[in-house]
Homo-oligomer: 213 residues x 2
DNA sequence: GAGCAAGTAGTCAAGTTTGACTAATCGAAG
DNA sequence: CTTCGATTAGTCAAACTTGACTACTTGCTC
């Protein structure tokens, strides 16, 4: 699974109604084009695809108020909201070392209630521990780990990464339990979208920090 | 960049000459189908593609010695070896939090000389540190990090992950400098491939450890 | 008032990935 | 000797991703 559907659904949802370029801009504002496959083609493709699947409703209107070709506006449907929450929950609990999905999920974390967020993160910890145990058991040969040669370093990397992720997740849980951030149903939410016309403070000409390909 | 080309090139290279199914089996032996996109379709596609690009030479022969359709055998060309080393070096130094590429690179680490491996890993550390600095500078707004709300947790995750990766890399460098493993030009190498007919000890019916999708 | 850079909005072909499917042979049981 | 399952080997259509490209408007400058 890629992060694109979660990102696009979440972006449309925060706007209520949005056209492709608006989504594209939000994702850039979040830096998502840096850490996920949020390229124009992927975004427009995802919008069309999800419209076809009934997760979004397309309004074939709006002859552009500010230059460019006519634009299609999308609205999230009930099915889309359901899918969004399903994806979000799944992304939060699943440990599969894909940072793009994890990052996207954190971005929408506050769309859940505080209690559910904590519960899901705790489930995530359980999964990480299970995975760690499975790796160490499954991939360490009976005749000792030396058997694996340098290949053992791959398992080592996995275990190390899992431990780091677990530690980070525990820290996040603690911060949330201590009252950090504003979650669903707790009043004025933090909205990470750009209003129509607002400029993007992160849109620069410079290369972005992790752009070292 | 995905890990598939590095994996396939590396697998063919270790065999000297291999058909698709052999590559597929090696990758399963390494657990690569778990942590990368090493699915049959991708493997055969990569083989054909790279043959077309002159990185592999295809021998359209071999009417299967053990069931199944006739198979094509591939041999790595000089250009392929060059590309393999280029990919390997690039994968080792680049920090982009893609575990699949990193894992693949570790698997072929010993195909370099000990000195070069250490040098590349040190360059990797430099890149991680540069990336970390860029993130903390670039994404922390002037009015303090609170501005970002829960979005700041994404940066937090990145920095945490970068630190963990750096620590792991330092550990690996130390082990290598103390003489661990056998590198290119140091005698009998460790070969992580299955001989023709050898059974795969990791091929099981059970779900694999990180297969919790 | 023509030219042109910047911004807006989206399309497209080429390439890649996915997961289910085909098809052939071997070995053992009946 | 034939049927069945396991193994071997690979194909294919559908979906997704990529990055370059089109096309249109506004505002500025000369």
């Amino acid at each position: 699974m890629s992060a694109i559907r979660l990102l696009v659904l979440g972006a449309v949802r925060q706007h209520g109604r949005a056209h492709g370029y608006q989504v594209r801009n939000d994702l850039e504002y979040w830096g998502a084009h840096e850490w996920s496959n949020a390229k124009p083609g992927s975004i427009y493709h995802a919008l069309k695809q999800m419209a076809k699947q009934g997760l979004l409703h397309a309004h074939e209107i709006a002859p552009s108020t500010a230059g460019g070709p006519p634009r299609t506006e999308y609205e999230i449907t009930d099915a889309g909201t359901e899918e969004f929450l399903r994806l979000l929950r799944e992304s939060l609990v699943s440990y599969d070392q894909k940072m793009d999905i994890q990052s996207a999920a954190i971005g929408f974390l506050v769309d859940l209630s505080r209690d559910e967020a904590v519960a899901l993160l705790k489930e995530r910890i359980r999964r990480i521990e299970a995975w760690r145990a499975a790796v160490t058991e499954h991939y360490i040969p009976e005749d000792g780990p030396e058997q694996l040669g340098h290949i053992g370093e791959i398992m080592n990397l996995w275990v190390h990464t899992a431990d780091s992720d677990e530690a980070w997740t525990r820290g996040l849980i603690e911060r949330i339990e201590r009252g950090a951030y504003t979650f669903s149903g707790e009043g004025e939410p933090f909205v990470g979208v750009l209003a129509e016309g607002e400029q993007n403070p992160y849109a620069t000409d410079e290369r972005h920090p992790d752009d070292h390909r």
